[in-house]
Symmetry: C2
Subunit: 137 residues, 2 copies
Amino acid sequence: MQLSNSSQYAIRILAYMADNKDSKLLNATELAKTLYIPYKFLTKIMTELVKSGLVVSIRGRDGGYKFEKKTSEIMVSDILAIFNDSIKNEQCVLGIGFCNGLCKCALHDQWVEPKHLLQKMFQESSLEDIAGKGCKI
Amino acid sequence: MQLSNSSQYAIRILAYMADNKDSKLLNATELAKTLYIPYKFLTKIMTELVKSGLVVSIRGRDGGYKFEKKTSEIMVSDILAIFNDSIKNEQCVLGIGFCNGLCKCALHDQWVEPKHLLQKMFQESSLEDIAGKGCKI
DNA sequence: TATAAATACTACTTAAAGGTAGAATTAATT
DNA sequence: AATTAATTCTACCTTTAAGTAGTATTTATA
Ligand code: SF4
Ligand code: SF4
């Protein structure tokens, strides 16, 4: 019952970048050191973030990463979507997955509310919202 | 962001057993067929449920499984605990895991409420509560 | 033009979850 | 006592997530 490492790392990376978006570019070496994320794994994640259009990369010496969009326009749910970690309406708590209104599982009714709150948390939190709140890692 | 297969299966198995606790014993073959759970995986799970004291097994011909406790006294959270899938108070949404009140992560504040609802759902749902609600698988 | 420092690509390895196979054990029935 | 049908044990296989290695590519600067 938790997000994948990739999603967790990506949120932390982007939250940190949002926190430091005054500095022109942030590079992978610095991000990995600051955030205690394995360098090679971080670059893999960054490449996915670039491909998905959330950030742009500048290659070559003095290169790095910066945002493509405004941080107020990037929601945490957008990040989760990249790593197939979104909470969808049809997300199933007991793994059956094809139930309808007539035939629902033992926990269906209890699941509705927390599922909705999770969705809300991810869909309504922008990077601007969560940047600068608390610690940096 | 979902329970492990083992937890999901275990909840479905026990909810079904609670639903059919009038029948003396339920055996693995029948449970596997009815619930569409791989037989060998199901027996592995059942053995863990026996060891943890939630159900008792009768071995040999005409054997099977039945509850050790009342279904009103078995909470879904008890099942999750067996498979290390509980939602703990200190459960971390961004995977850092050692933050305190002073230094908290970007999503800490937003996480409190849904986490609490998840805990509530699992801690306050007994097998009696969820049995007989909806479909059988 | 050579060098250095950065991202991107391809491929591999490791660890954990999910699942399977087969034999051993148990106990009721014939 | 033999058979049958059940659980349990040990060991293995498969798939996916997580992480690593090495090379290629790009670009600023001396
Ligand atoms: S009713 Fe339960 S098992 Fe069925 S799709 Fe909904 S959450 Fe999943
Ligand atoms: S503050 Fe955030 S990152 Fe830190 S332990 Fe709590 S949930 Fe995890």
